[in-house]
């Protein structure tokens, strides 16, 4: 049986206690997307600014949630800031693969990561600190906590693509 230390790694607690990129961005120009975990009521808000070169020039995270959802959102914001949208999507896919491919979407339309998608993804993406969240897969009910921010991010990218 997996213990608490598998789930609550120190880096996770650090991001929970001191979340990075927490706050809001002015909309417009930023894009705002809300995500909900219907199981527990957690809400997350992702604000993204993308520049003319397709770069995620800024990202802020709002909302409330448990240590897993909040730390995952915090690490996500660091992982995708300054990356291109395509790179950010690849990181998202890699992270969701880390979280098990059977996880079903909870973030809204357009954010499903189906198993087939992963075959085409470069497996060499370095997730860095995010790998600390790997222990979450041993606690299946918490996977949705970890993926909430990422599903919301995917939805935000889809919305931005539709708008442009």
């Amino acid at each position: 049986m997996a213990g608490l230390e598998d789930l609550y790694r120190e880096i996770i607690l650090d991001h929970y206690r001191t979340p990075r990129n927490k706050g809001e961005l002015e909309t417009p120009p930023a894009h705002r997307t809300e995500g909900f975990n219907p199981l527990c009521g957690d809400e997350i808000v992702v604000y993204i600014d993308t520049d003319d070169n397709g770069l995620v020039s800024d990202i802020k995270i709002g909302g409330q949630g448990c240590s897993i959802s909040q730390s995952s959102a915090s690490m996500m914001s660091m992982a995708v800031k300054g990356k291109t949208v395509d790179e950010a999507r690849q990181i998202t896919s890699a992270f969701k693969r880390l979280m098990s491919i059977h996880e079903t979407n909870v973030g809204g339309d357009g954010s499903e990561a189906e198993a087939d998608d992963f075959d085409e993804i470069d497996a060499d993406i370095d997730l860095g600190d995010l790998e600390a969240l790997q222990g979450v897969v041993k606690f299946p009910t918490r996977i949705k906590c970890a993926t909430l921010a990422w599903n919301t991010l995917s939805q935000a990218f889809d919305e931005i693509a539709e708008d442009s």
């Binding site: 049986m1 213990g3 608490l4 206690r17 527990c40 009521g41 448990c66 240590s67």
Partner: protein, 413 residues
Amino acid sequence: MSTPTLDVAAIRKDFPILSQVQDGKRLVFLDSAASSQHPTQVLDAMNDIYLHSYANVHRGVYQLAERATSAYESARDSVARFIGAPDPNEVIFTKNATEAINLVAQSWGRQNLKPGDAIVLTLMEHHANIVPWQMIAAELDCEIRWVPVTDEGELDLTDLDQLLDGAKVFAFTSMSNVLGTINPVARLTQAARAAGAISVVDACQSVPHFSTDVAELGADFIAFSAHKMLGPSGIGVLWGKKDLLDAMPPFLGGGGMILNVTTEGFTADGVPGKFEAGTPPIVEAVGLGAAVDYLENIGMDLIRQHEVELTAYAMRTLTERVGDDLLIMGPSEPAARGGVLSLSLADVHAHDVSQVLDEHAVCIRPGHHCAKPLMRRFDVNATARASVYIYNDIDDIDALADALVAARDFFSL
């Protein structure tokens, strides 16, 4: 002579699931408000039907079918007796309380509601007593009005008469599944009647825990689920006044709910058959009947007394042990509430609290408890809810306190 108390040790022997050990620790089950456990008497009654008397009901003329039908119908009699229903035919078996409320909203609502009519709900409702009304309101263009909730977690009835003015439906819970608040049901149904509205009572949290008399409550409909009162999942109850049920159209169509079917149309059966389309939850009904017998055998007043004592002990102990970091939502007087304690632990999210509690083999429920409007009212996303029943004792509460202290220490900033 000393006051009788519940013999929890003896009761626990009837619940083998509770004697299991999780990671070397005694299992502490404090989630009965979500779904309760089953005594062997319920399991044996269900198994006995499967082993000796199973067949479809109301169909066959062979002896097995006669026995199955008789067992199914005597469960209806038991439930009617348990809630003081004057006529067992007023007891409709549904899939769960949610379906029971949907039945009223769709059948009574579609027949009686018109555009502009008002439906009154309270802010402390479970989604099961909100969404069915929102669905029919959206379809028929009705207005929904909300009875507010005070900071203490009680209904604010200051403007009740205005809210009910011209309303057609007043749907409310007898006891909050989040706050434990026990509502003054008789007073509320009387107010509804005075305003010309029907009253629909979500009684899921009260029927399992204290004695229920539908005449005393004065309600037009009450709904509850077997799985919160020691019975199986898959069966719930709608009780309604006979004249109302008689006048309502069927909800679901199919076999078992008709008198006649031709190529031109159908004639519906009378109650309860009219509302029990398809093969019903036969064995589940027998399980519910056995659960009712089990509860009656203990005595609902003794159960209520036990839960008030345990709730008082829990509120005192948790406050002493965990201190100011812990907020217990809802009424502060144990006798004014049921055995449901929604807890907020300082900055620790309910999901994280429950995860640490699970390490201590303590089962509680984190989340919004299907009551998001209420959670928004109190500006919280999630709480950790502990709820007690007949098989819980002070050892369970002490284990909860230990685990909460551990959770606080683990996440201390």
